[in-house]
Structures are given as structure tokens and as C-alpha cells.
């Protein structure tokens, strides 16, 4: 049986079961202790005359307890027994709205069952939180063309569906054009378990440099004109900072040669992600991220390719008001024979900017080492990249580049930024600037 079809069927069945599963968790009702704690006053300076009353309970008529993280549940329960603190309630409403991606969260107060006690009711409106359209990446690079990705996201309950259209000539050796979709289902909030199904269907185009390189080196992996992938995986947030995931990826590639059978790269996948945020003040914060990913294709899963792809990524960002410093590191290793889409690339809009990826290695490399450092002041940016890709049979040749640019959301693009940068590859004897322009790259 075709493993891809089997995975697709199993995935769809599981997805349907998850989506339509009925949640029977009761509504959250936190009740106050018998005695109020007189030591806890309301120091918020609220103008409301009801601030002197004691919170008897905090109730969510239309929301399930399981929707909240432990942290939020603790905060909700800590309100009961204290004096009514409107500032705390407003802060809680804001955090609930953020955590549940709700359209609005409001609260109202009513008399309690005893004199001088009140009940707090939170109304969570999730009806308009649904649809969002994003442009995760839009970039044009001189000499390498453009890349555009558009996505629409629809959350419903504990599920989220994301559908995207893209034409990407930046990330891989080849340009891949097509559609991708993701279905996620989440259990819990504080230590959530997420079930994720990724589906991709692409048409592939290879550059002349790649075709020439492959024709002269028949030992390298072959080209394909279409690629389809189904990748279910399970994610678990061990702590707020550490997430682990494990799953499988069933990739099918249709050969460019007429009549040739399709080949598959079916792999077990694993990932470790760690992120630490340190917010010193409103204007000063630091973020550190480290991730390690593994894709191991074996005959056990019916794969034609057998390989293991390891990648370690680390980044650090520090913001001090209008100043920002970024640093990053990426290392990769592929053992065995991997298809072209798995091979590492440098010389695109995000890594070793200024170099042409086809000049560095038109078929990508099985080894990668890369580092970057950047500085931003307001809209101005400057960066320095250094890295190398190579294969066991080719020696590593480190390259460097520098660049400057401007980037801004202009106050209207919210989380999106328009960026224009000029990058210079540092090579002996000449300077060939590369222009990079776009959004969110």
C-alpha cells in the first residue's frame, strides 16, 4: 500500500475525530473562601464605589475551564476573597483575550449571596476572532527573482486551519510553487499538547545552474517536477520555554523523466525548541532561541531515500529602546543520500545575504555552518554574515558579506515591515551589490 495514501487516510480520520470531538469540561467557577482576607486591600486607586466589596466568585458562563492556562486559572482563583480590584480585572480580561485570541472580553459585577460580597462574570466573545490573512514573506532579490507567501488562518474552538499559496524561489535550491495547509488541534493551555497536520503540494522548477551541475555529476540526487508532503506530528510544551515534537513526514516526488516512477522520502521527524524571554522593562528585552531538528528517512517507512538531516539553530536578540542587536548561528549535517529539497542553501534573502546561492553551490550542500550579527537603530539596519556550505567531497570555502538597509512598518502595517537592503559579498577584487526588497523576510 502507498504509504502516502495510508498516512493521508489516517491523518484525515484522526483530524475529523479531533475536530468533532465534544468537549464536556464544565464551566469555570471559582468560589471564595468562607472568610474574606481583610489584609488584602485594593490599592489600585479605582474610582468605583464597589471597590470596597469582596469578590465572592469569578465566573465564565460561556467558557470552559480547560481553555485557560494554569497561570490564568491561578490568577482567576486568587481574585476570589480579595477586595474588588478593577485594575486587576481589566488586566485579566486583556490576558484572557490574548490567550484565547478572542474578539473581546468584558466583565460585569453583580451582588453576591451575602451582603458586601459581589460576583464577577467574564463574557468572552470569540465570534469575530476567526479569520486572519497574513503575508509571512514577500521578497525580491536581484538576480534570484521574487518569493511570495500568502496565508489565511481560521481558528475554531481548539482547532486552527491555515491555508497558504506560495511561490518560493528563496529558501531551497529549487523554486516551489503551490499550496500548503495546516490543521492544528490543541489540548490544554499551560503545558499544551498540539496535534499538527501539514500538507504541501508543489510544482518544482530548477535553475539552469542546477540542471547543469546535476547533469555533470550523475551521482547527485535527481530532479523532480512535483512534490507532495503530508507530515503529522505531536508537539508538547514541557515548560513554557521548552517544546518537543515528534512525528513523520511522507514526501512523494514525481520524476521529471516521463514514465519514471515517483520516489519517496518518508522520514521520522523530531524537534526540540527552547525560547527564553527576558523583559527587563517596557523598552528593554532580550530573547534567546535554540532549536534542533532531525529528519531521518528509512526504508522502514517505505522511503526510497535513506538519510538523516540534523540542523541546529540558535539566535539571540536584545532590544534597548531604539537599539537592537541580533546574533544567530546555524549548523547542519546530512548523512546519507537526501533529495534536493533537504539540502542546505546559503546566499538567499536571509542567510549569507549578498551572495548568489547558485554561485555558492547550485545543488546545495550537505554541510552547513553559518553565523550572522546585525544592528538596528530605528529604521536603519546593518548586518554581517559569514558561512559555508560544502559536501564531504568538496572542501568548505567560508564566505562573508555585509549590508545596510532600512525597514519600517510606517505605523500602518502593524506587525509587518517593509525592508530594503543592499548586501555586498566580500570577495577579493570586486564588489557586486545585491538589492533585497520586500516584506517580513
Amino acid at each position: 500500500m502507498n504509504p502516502l495514501r495510508t498516512a493521508l487516510a489516517v491523518g484525515l480520520c484522526l483530524g475529523a475525530a479531533v475536530v468533532f470531538a465534544e468537549d464536556t469540561t464544565p464551566a469555570l467557577v471559582s468560589t471564595s473562601p468562607d472568610r474574606p482576607n481583610p489584609a488584602e486591600g485594593n490599592a489600585s486607586g479605582d474610582w468605583n464605589v464597589n471597590s470596597r466589596y469582596i469578590v465572592e466568585s469569578v465566573e465564565f458562563p460561556d467558557t470552559q475551564e480547560a481553555d485557560f492556562s494554569h497561570r490564568l486559572r491561578d490568577r482567576i482563583q486568587s481574585l476570589a476573597g480579595d477586595k474588588l480590584n478593577y485594575a486587576a480585572l481589566r488586566g485579566l480580561a486583556h490576558d484572557i483575550r490574548t490567550e484565547l485570541s478572542a474578539h473581546s472580553v468584558s466583565f460585569r459585577i453583580a451582588r453576591g449571596s451575602r451582603p458586601d460580597y459581589v460576583r464577577v462574570f467574564f463574557d468572552v466573545d470569540r465570534t469575530h476572532s476567526a479569520f486572519d490573512v497574513l503575508v509571512p514573506k514577500f521578497v525580491w532579490t536581484s538576480g534570484q527573482g521574487w518569493t511570495a507567501i500568502g496565508e489565511a488562518t481560521l481558528p475554531f474552538g481548539h482547532n486552527t486551519i491555515t491555508v497558504g499559496l506560495l511561490s518560493d524561489g528563496d529558501d531551497l535550491v529549487e523554486r516551489f510553487t503551490g499550496a500548503r495547509a495546516r490543521l492544528t488541534h490543541r489540548w490544554g493551555s499551560d503545558h499544551p499538547v498540539r496535534l499538527v497536520f501539514d500538507f504541501e503540494d508543489y510544482h518544482e522548477e530548477f535553475g539552469r545552474e542546477t540542471e547543469a551541475a546535476l547533469s555533470s555529476a550523475p551521482g547527485d540526487p535527481g530532479m523532480y517536477h512535483a512534490r507532495m508532503d503530508l507530515a503529522p506530528r505531536m508537539e508538547y510544551a514541557v515548560t513554557r520555554e521548552l517544546t518537543v515534537s515528534a512525528g513523520t513526514a511522507f514526501e512523494s516526488m514525481e520524476s521529471q523523466l516521463p514514465g519514471a516512477p515517483s520516489r519517496s522520502a518518508n522520514a521520522m521527524t523530531a524537534e526540540l525548541r527552547w525560547q527564553h524571554d527576558e523583559e527587563v522593562s517596557e523598552e528593554t528585552h532580550k530573547t534567546a532561541r535554540i532549536s534542533w531538528t532531525l529528519r531521518a528517512a528509512t526504508h522502514t517507512l517505505g522511503s526510497d531515500y535513506v538519510y538523516a538531516r540534523n540542523e541546529l539553530t540558535a539566535s539571540w536578540t536584545g532590544v534597548w529602546g531604539r537599539h537592537r542587536i541580533d546574533a544567530g548561528f546555524d549548523a547542519g549535517l546530512i548523512s546519507g543520500e537526501a533529495p534536493l529539497f533537504e539540502r542546505f542553501v546559503l546566499g538567499n534573502s536571509t542567510m549569507l545575504r549578498g551572495w548568489n546561492k547558485y554561485q555558492l553551490d547550485p545543488v546545495g550542500g550537505s554541510r552547513l555552518a553559518y553565523g550572522t550579527a546585525g544592528y538596528r537603530y530605528r529604521i536603519l539596519r546593518a548586518f554581517y554574515d559569514v558561512g559555508a556550505i560544502w559536501d564531504p567531497r568538496r572542501a568548505a570555502s567560508p564566505k562573508q558579506s555585509i549590508g545596510v538597509g532600512v525597514g519600517s512598518s510606517f505605523g500602518i502595517l502593524q506587525r509587518n515591515e517593509l525592508l530594503v537592503a543592499v548586501a555586498f559579498p566580500l570577495q577579493q577584487g570586486r564588489m557586486d551589490p545585491v538589492l533585497i526588497a520586500g516584506m517580513n523576510f
Binding site: D46, W47, V49, N50, R90, R108, A110, D116, V118
Partner: protein, 205 residues
């Protein structure tokens, strides 16, 4: 075809009539508020305002109050002279009203200028207290010049969140000017009153 035309006429005519009636009623109500409801009383060195027929603790604001929320009301008072083209004086005040859920009485806090609070009030008394806090100084105003007073009250847009405070001493005047510089939103309630022309000399007789 004829049936279709007749049907369209029969729907449009009453709709126009209803709209015209509504506009006339609103205009009449606005005029009534404008001309008669703002009463000016002379004081030693300031004019005092009252509006016994104007009630702003109503509708959506009252619902919010009954839900235990506090509702800010912003007052803007402007004194004009000449042919209503010269602004002589202007002030802003913010009053935060809340409703005691157990005692079923209103409490009001005045945030701008000198801060004051009062509680255990019935709705009409709470409204009256707000008007009593506003004094229009007359020092330097010509006795015989024609004057007009305009009072605008807005309930704060709930989307704006809690009252904006500049510091612990009271509300920022700049933020109140900001409030009145925006057009009224659908979620806001607004009352608008005019009085005049009058002369200070008339009060001295």
C-alpha cells in the same frame, strides 16, 4: 411590471414619511435641549450652570453602571461672545460615576482640577452635583457684550478602557481636549446644550 412599480412606490412613500418624521423629532428634541435646558445662575464672580431636564444617567451608560462598572462623563463648557465667533473661555471636566450595587445609590468623583467625591446619591442628585461643580468665571468679560454658553457632555467610549489619568492628582487636560477633538463614536452618548444670547448686565438688574 406595473405591479412591481406600484409595489415599489407603496414601500418608498411610508419609508420617506417615517424618515422625515424621525428627523423632525430629533431636530425638535435637539432644539429643546439647546434652548431651554441649560439654566444660567449668576454668582459673585462666576456663572453657575444647571440643567434639571437633562439626564445623562440613562441608556447604555446606566446599564454599565448597573453592571458594576464606572462610567466617565466628560464635560466641555465654552463661553462665546460677539456673534458666537469669539471664544472667551473654555473648560473641561471629567466625572466618574459608579453605582453601589448593595446600597443602590450613585457615587461621583470629579477628576480634573481639584478632586472631589460624593456618594449615596439618587440619579438626579448625582447629575445635579456634576453641574454644580462647573463655574464659568466672569472676570474680564464685558458686561454688555452678547454671550453664548455651550455645554457638551460625552460618556467615554468604553473601547478606550479605563479613565486616562495624567498622574495621581487628576486627569490630564490634554487627554480631555483629545476626547472632544474626536467625532462622537457610535458607542458614545452625547448631550449638547446652548444658552444665549445673554449679557452679564442682565443679571445685575
Amino acid at each position: 411590471m406595473r405591479k412591481g412599480i406600484r409595489s415599489r412606490v407603496s414601500i418608498t412613500a411610508p419609508l420617506c414619511a417615517a424618515m422625515a418624521t424621525l428627523v423632525l423629532c430629533l431636530a425638535a428634541y435637539a432644539m429643546a435641549l439647546s434652548s431651554e435646558d441649560l439654566i444660567i445662575t449668576p454668582g459673585p464672580d462666576a456663572l453657575r450652570l444647571s440643567a434639571p431636564r437633562v439626564h445623562f444617567l440613562v441608556g447604555q451608560s446606566l446599564s454599565h453602571l448597573h453592571d458594576g462598572m464606572s462610567v466617565p462623563f466628560d464635560f466641555q463648557v465654552t463661553l462665546f461672545s460677539g456673534s458666537r465667533d469669539r471664544q472667551v473661555w473654555r473648560t473641561f471636566e471629567r466625572f466618574v460615576v459608579s453605582y453601589d450595587l448593595w446600597e443602590e445609590r450613585f457615587a461621583v468623583s470629579r477628576l480634573s482640577n481639584s478632586r472631589r467625591s460624593v456618594s449615596h446619591l439618587l440619579p438626579s442628585a448625582a447629575e445635579r452635583w456634576c453641574f454644580e461643580q462647573i463655574a464659568v468665571p466672569t472676570a474680564g468679560v464685558a458686561r454688555d457684550a452678547p454671550l453664548w454658553l455651550r455645554l457638551e457632555i460625552r460618556s467615554e467610549d468604553q473601547r478606550d478602557g479605563p479613565p486616562v489619568l495624567a498622574d495621581s492628582d487628576g486627569i490630564s487636560i490634554a487627554s480631555l481636549i483629545e476626547v472632544f477633538s474626536h467625532p462622537v463614536r457610535r458607542t458614545q452618548q452625547r448631550w449638547f446644550m446652548n444658552s444665549g444670547p445673554f449679557r452679564l448686565a442682565e443679571f445685575e438688574r
